[in-house]
Amino acid sequence: MSHSFTLNGQPVDVAVAGMTSLLSVLRDQFGLLGAKLGCGEGRCGACTVLVDGEPVDSCIYPVANAEGAAVRTVEGLESHGEPLTRIQDALLEHGGVQCGACIPGVVMTLTALLETESSIDDSTIRSSLSGNICRCTGYQKIIDAAQAAANANGGPQ
């Protein structure tokens, strides 16, 4: 069966069973290894990508559900001529990255938050991160980074 969607802005077409996880399509068919297979059970968020702007756990997201949608991964983030996007830069500036295995997922979740929420505070950041497990950092520096990126944003992008 064939499934069409846009991947980081480019139209793509894959012939796999509809129940194949979006994560394995990204990794195995397209060689996009940014999203990680942390648990494969929809519990850790290391595989988070955006489908029509919404963060999803791509390890349990059937590729059939992405039909016609816009799929964005960490590899496709637009940094508007800068080396990094605001949230990527803030994560490094605030020391929010340790092993980094959770980070591609965290970057996608926070990108969606920054794009959609107009007022961002500690509690909106924490609740947006509820599906992203970070075993290393204790989250505080990730939260600081998100807050700083939101402040620099001055509202939605």
Binding site: V97, C99, A101, N132, R135, G138, I142
Partner: protein, 770 residues
């Protein structure tokens, strides 16, 4: 000094935020086969038949490996009682029986299902006390035949015992004003890094080349060799970026299967654990029982302590539990002055998955027990809990239980710093019903293992560090060590790089464990950098016609101090040296200097002292919901001595991360075992990890109390923040509800039970009064 002490960005950070870093789990080779492991579903049995003939001839199956392929016995240094596959006898649910390499995962799974196993069940021994009881079935009937690295007390189901004894314990108990006795029980905790265990192996030129995200490449190399019965140098371990470890990636785990199967097939073989294999088979922090009996004078002076720690080894000694047995007495007797002490630390076999190192090893539960116990002593004496601690705290120049003198003890300073941030008196007087507060001091160790590193200067004047230090995520290798090197060489941080971790190219390194990378590798790299600097200055002195003592290196330029226009670029120095004296480069090395202690007081001790000891204090304020038993951490304060802060922001990150792992351990993380000794919590729904909602506000103060043999004074920083957390939260909960909590974790259920027991008792006593 400009770079050391700054919060430089991590050199590997951009790759990580872009998703471009290639972790162990992302590493692939062309034509790779998939390996899967058949694991036991029973805890104890004799294998009467293991028939792989059908499996071996199934479609896509390239090879099957069994016990015959891995003849060696291994174990983490001390006791060699682990075989790769169960041989004749099964000792735990999850023990490997066979492994298959096939073209696809589905084919490998199908082959596993076709392996015929016949078993004769044996009586499982699951409980720690039952295991030690007279007449219990022996889990290793051949225990006497196993090789051990040192003498120690063992026998039957007692895998190992470490003992420490000082002073006259019995006499001290006889003259005590008060004797208090407690027992504590704690659970298994799983490391659960985001990246599971994974390895790709290839057999090449008669050697095994293994890509694996391990914390301790030289240990994995040695253990593969031991299990396969080959030479250590026939294995080469290459470490890609590691997606977290926390102790869980110290031991050999999936690598030997890939090695055997690549040898059999002539193809690269990849093996990747599922999350359930991770939780069910990769050694967690051990469950334990701690019994403490303490003699106290009327003024609160600790006179003597008699302690017994019983730790679950699981079915073999593949993890660190035996190796670190003596850390339990050291941590129990390392923070307070206990002139008479007797500790026995017993590691016991059970028919359960082997346990292993998790950040802080046995520290978190020993400290939990000690501090709950001290709070009970304070309550019985009617003494303020902080005062009791301050009174007995080890001061500079006093000794730990092993007779090791702590000349740089900094415990009172750490306690004072916490008090400055959140005064104990205020926290105490502001308490409301069901709110509690506690403060806990702690002495801990920096792992003392040796390290080697080498540095060469490139033709463009930049420097490359080659070492086998594993970058586990702390930034210690990719940033901390580089800051030290760049500072010493007078180069910009971006002009110093580290080559990938590889046992073929890097000198021996004791692994990313016990906060030792900045300390051990930092020292080795500093030694190399000092030699390289000397070489640069010697050549430059001739070029600049100046004495090398008058030279300084700043931002890649060698100049005569005070004469700014007399200068030469490091790149030119490198070019001149090349044809003059040869390329510039040097190796450096480090071993921890001998630490004096009283060897007569210990037996069976693999860890005899606390190298580069470090000191800290933690404080917590909690609220208990009397309706639900739920504990909320309102405020958390840490003051931690790191010797010298190389990168303060990274240290803060270690404190925040360690504290949250400790909160998980204190309040909910519990890797439960079922009736067959099998792991019940084998997914992340039932094994809950802390989320952003669980993270309390943390005030962290970094204290600098230099270590005379640390690089620029630095000692360990990353491991200890997890250790006092369960203790301080447990004591704060006890304060809130007025009851000693003898078991971890402090789930809403157990806290509620403790509260209602009290209410029941209150009701009963009220009725008596009527």
């Amino acid at each position: 000094m400009t770079l050391v002490g700054t919060s430089a960005r991590r050199a590997d950070g951009e790759d990580k935020v872009r998703g471009a870093a290639r972790y162990g789990m992302d590493y692939l080779e062309h034509g790779t086969l998939v390996a899967k492991v058949l694991r036991s579903t029973v805890p104890a049995a004799r294998i009467t038949e293991l028939d792989c003939s059908t499996a071996a001839s199934m479609p896509g199956v390239r090879a099957v490996a069994t016990a015959a392929d891995a003849p060696g016995l291994s174990g983490l240094v001390i006791v060699k009682d682990q075989s790769l596959f169960a041989t004749d006898v099964i000792r735990y649910v999850g023990e490997p029986l066979a492994a298959v390499a096939a073209d696809t995962a589905e084919q490998a799974e199908a082959a596993l299902a076709a392996i015929d196993v016949s078993l004769e069940p044996l009586e499982p021994v699951l409980d720690l006390e039952q295991s030690l009881a007279e007449g219990s079935r022996l889990i290793h009937p051949d225990w006497e035949s196993y090789e051990t690295a040192m003498p120690g007390t063992r026998g039957g189901n007692l895998a190992w015992e470490s003992r420490v004894e000082r002073g006259d314990v019995d006499a001290a108990f006889d003259r005590a004003h008060l004797v208090v006795e407690d027992e504590f029980r704690t659970q298994r905790q799983h490391q659960s890094p985001i990246e599971p265990h994974v390895a790709v192996a290839r057999y090449e030129q008669g050697r095994y080349v293994v890509h694996t995200p391990t914390q301790f490449p030289f240990n994995v190399r040695g253990r593969i060799a031991e299990l396969l019965g080959i030479r250590i140098s026939d294995v080469r371990v290459i470490v890609p970026p590691i997606g977290g470890g926390f102790g869980g990636k110290l031991d050999v785990m999936v690598e030997p299967f890939a090695c055997i199967l690549t040898r059999k097939t002539g193809r690269p073989v990849r093996i990747l654990n599922s999350r359930s294999e991770e939780l069910a088979t990769c050694g967690p922090r051990e469950n334990a029982i701690v019994r403490l009996r303490t003699a106290v004078a009327a003024d609160g002076t600790l006179l003597a302590q008699d302690g017994e720690v019983i730790a679950d080894n699981g079915a073999n000694s593949s993890g660190e539990t035996v190796l670190v047995a003596n850390v339990a007495p050291l941590v129990l007797g390392g923070t307070y002055r206990i002139p008479n002490a007797r500790y026995a630390s017993k590691v016991v076999y059970t028919n359960t998955p082997p346990t292993a190192a998790f950040r802080g090893v046995n520290g978190p539960y020993c400290v939990y027990a000690q501090e709950q116990h001290l709070d009970r002593i304070a309550r019985e004496l009617g003494m303020d809990r902080r005062t009791l601690r301050m009174k007995n705290l080890i001061r500079a120049g006093e000794s730990m239980v092993n007779g090791q003198q702590l000349d740089d003890a900094f415990l009172t300073q750490a306690m004072d710093k916490v008090d400055e941030i959140r005064p104990w008196q205020d926290a105490h007087t502001e308490r409301k019903p069901f709110r509690g507060v506690a403060v806990v001091p702690l002495t801990w160790i920096t792992n003392p293992l040796p390290a080697g590193a080498s540095i060469k200067l490139e033709e463009d004047g930049t420097a490359t560090v080659t070492c086998a230090g594993a970058e586990i995520g702390t930034g210690a290798v990719t940033t901390g060590v580089l800051q030290i090197v760049a500072e010493q060489l007078g180069l910009r941080l971006e002009d110093v790089r580290v080559s990938p971790t590889d046992t073929d190219t890097g000198g021996y390194d004791g692994g990313a464990q016990g906060s030792r990378t900045t300390y051990g590798m930092g020292n080795a790299a500093l030694d190399a950098a000092t030699k390289v600097r000397d070489q640069v200055l010697e050549v430059a002195a001739t070029m600049l016609e100046a004495g090398s003592d008058d030279l300084e290196i700043v931002d890649g330029t060698v100049r005569v101090a005070g004469v700014p226009d007399q200068q030469v670029a490091v790149a030119s120095v490198v070019a001149t040296a090349m044809f003059d004296s040869g390329p510039i480069g040097a190796s450096g090395k480090f071993a921890t200097p001998p630490i004096p202690f009283d060897s007569g007081c210990m037996a069976g001790a693999a860890v005899t002292s606390f190298a580069a000891p470090l000191y800290q204090a933690h404080m917590a304020e909690v609220e208990v919901d009397p309706e639900t038993g739920r504990v909320t951490v309102l405020r958390y304060v840490v003051a931690q001595d790191v010797g010298r802060a190389i990168n303060p922001q990274m240290i803060e990150g270690q404190i925040q991360g360690g504290v949250l792992q400790g909160i998980g351990y204190a309040l909910f993380e519990n890797l439960r075992l079922g009736d067959n000794g099998e792991v019940i919590d084998d997914d992340l729904e039932s094994y809950r990890l802390p989320t952003a909602a669980d993270a309390p506000p943390i005030d962290a103060a970094i204290l600098e109390n230099p270590c005379s043999y640390g690089p620029l004074g630095a000692k360990g920083a990353a491991e200890p923040p997890i250790i006092p957390v369960a203790a301080v939260i447990g004591c704060a909960v006890s304060d809130a509800i007025g009851k000693t909590m003898n078991e971890l974790p402090l789930t809403p259920f157990s806290v509620l039970q403790a509260i209602t027991e009290d209410q029941d008792r209150a009701v009963r006593s009220d009725q008596r009064h009527l």
